[in-house]
Amino acid sequence: MRSKSQTTLLRTVGLHAVLVPLALIWLFPIWMMIVFSTQPENAIFSSNLVLLPSDQFANNFALLQADTGFLRTVFVSIVVATVYTVVSVFLTSMAGWALARYNFAGKGVVLAIILGTLTLPYFVVVIPQFIMVARDFGLGNTWFALIVPPLFNSLGVLFMRQSFSMMPGELFDAARVEGVKEWQIFLRVALPMARPTIAALCIILFLASWNNYLWPLLINNRPDMMTAPVALGSLIGLTRVSWGGIMTGAVVLTLPMLFAFVVLQRHFVAGIAAGAIK
């Protein structure tokens, strides 16, 4: 007979024996990204496997900056992602609020259309969207075209709708009886209560914009408006690929996201779970 604590120990050891190698497999590419960002440019092609970092990070970064004006592209990315996140959270919240809390003709149809767009792959949308924005509206190479077309985010709308419809209706009735205006109810009661969901949504939206490669590549070819992922992509030339630069850029782009995730993790998990429970 094994005691209860022995059984628990065995189970823990067994679980870790499976999970630790899996975690290492997941971490390996990230580790190699860090390693190659600190190695000389051609280390990636060396015949013996390099597993440890070296001291060439600053060098690589200087090359990257010289090739692409990387710092400016990071700044552009930050501006685009921030504006995108703030505006999109506001828009999706308002749409979610309307869908959760008001009855209007055609509400079901609107909801079905929003849900339906979730099933469309982005690549099906992006070409018509490009033709419409660049050719029909003539808005290519503008900040507007860079930020606004991706703003509509059906996942965000559904996310916020779910969050608002789970709040007890009596809260809003109480505010109405007190003479609080509808927009005040939205801003002062509903939005603060949806904070965990909004935090999670912010991360998702910021990340989506931060990582967006295809749309900025298509809609913009002005160098001063180039975003960081596009800048990294430009390092892949026909004859030469600057791996040191790419890896260094990737590290620089990943770190702020990693930091944000760690800081907001609690909200992130709570927000996603809020949609799942009940």
């Binding site: 007890p168 009735d173 109480a174 109405r176 009886v177 007190e178 003479g179 009661v189 209560m193």
Partner: protein, 361 residues
């Protein structure tokens, strides 16, 4: 301060009519309780008075002004909800002052009202806390406080005590009665608990299926119910009902015989005319059965279960007949362990109902 008048108020959800032409007058300063089983429309009626639910027909007036198309905030009402409906991200003080702040009331006026409400409800030490740091009773006080700061003409309570435990419920019930005495404001209170209705109300409105069954002072409803539904709903434990048949009639009185319980016979004074063989229902409250030596028809019942509460006992008898009787006995100790009990039905305490459930007088 002002009263509330409903005339022929109706509510339909699509084709389904849930409130069927309710007429009601609530006088200035009166404490009126809407009572009825779940789904009877009492909360809907209250929400219609509040303006949270549109009315499909009729007219509601508050303080003599028709408010059918007036926004909830402009009706001079304040409402306390079953779930308390406190804003979880605000402190108690912010909860109390939120509506006033949003309406641009002057700062010192808000402070005065909040201080006054907090002192009435004795929640001053809680002002800096958030709702999740409060107990159920404290939350309910804050919810009531939020209504008080509005200084309304009419208070509306939607089952405010149903989330509290039994002990706290009694305590808060007393508090609400005290509040009514202190403020003297018109109050309309919805509950399914007839004890709350009996203890709080100046006037009870008994509702069933969206219709008013009877309106009256608590003891009037208890003493003189208009029909079998009200008779069964008011009073705890509920009135006993026994199926019976008319066996003899004389002008001014009727003799009936119960279908069960050993065919007990009873002669009662009635003005209504009857025919032999008519089916009626005999009603008698548990506390009105007499002892073996009392006046009226004697009945021997088999005791199934007895609940001894100390001062009184409730005896559940004759379950086998399908018509269980509940008998209240005051001398509980002497009744313990008996398997048979002889009781009497005093004619003066008996009620008769016809087959439609209406009271026979």
């Amino acid at each position: 301060m002002s009263g509330v008048t409903l005339s022929n108020v109706q509510k339909r959800f699509g084709a389904v009519e849930v409130i069927h032409g309710v007429d009601l007058t609530v006088d200035d300063g009166e404490f009126v309780v809407f009572v009825g089983p779940s789904g009877c429309g009492k909360s809907t009626l209250l929400r219609m008075i509040a303006g949270l639910e549109d009315i499909s027909g009729g007219e509601i007036s508050i303080g003599g002004t028709t408010v059918n198309d007036v926004e909830p905030a402009d009706r001079g009402i304040a409402m306390v909800f079953q779930s308390y409906a406190l804003y979880p991200h605000m402190t108690v003080e912010q909860n109390l002052s939120f509506g006033l702040r949003m309406n641009g009331k002057p700062r010192d006026d808000i402070a005065r009202r909040v201080t006054k409400a907090a002192s009435i409800l004795q929640i001053e030490p809680l002002l800096a806390r958030r709702p999740k740091q409060l107990s159920g009773g404290q939350r309910q006080r804050v919810a009531i406080g939020r209504a008080i700061v509005r200084e309304p003409d009419v208070f509306l309570f939607d089952e405010p005590l149903s989330n509290l435990d039994a002990e706290l419920r009694v305590q808060m019930r007393v508090e609400i009665a005290r509040l009514h005495k202190e403020l003297g404001t018109t109050m309309i209170y919805v509950t399914h608990d007839q004890t709350e209705a009996m203890t709080l109300a100046d006037k009870i409105v008994v509702l069933r299926d969206g219709r008013v069954e009877q309106v009256g002072a608590p003891l009037d409803l208890y003493d003189d119910p208009a029909n079998r539904f009200v008779a069964g709903f008011v009073g705890s434990p509920r009135m006993n009902f026994m199926a019976a048949k008319v066996v003899d009639t004389t002008p001014g009185s009727v003799t009936i015989e119960t279908d069960n319980h050993g065919s007990a016979r009873l002669t009662l004074p009635v003005r209504q005319a009857f025919q032999t063989g008519d089916a009626v229902t005999l009603g008698i409250r548990p506390e009105h059965f007499g002892g073996p030596d009392g006046d009226g028809t004697r009945l021997t019942v088999n005791v199934d279960v007895a609940e001894h509460l100390g001062a009184t006992s409730f005896v559940y008898a004759n379950m086998a007949t399908g018509e269980q009787l509940i008998i209240e006995r005051e001398q509980s100790r002497s009744e313990m362990g008996k398997t048979e009990l002889t009781i009497t039905i005093p004619p003066a305490r008996a009620y008769l109902f016809d087959s439609a459930g209406d009271r026979i007088r």
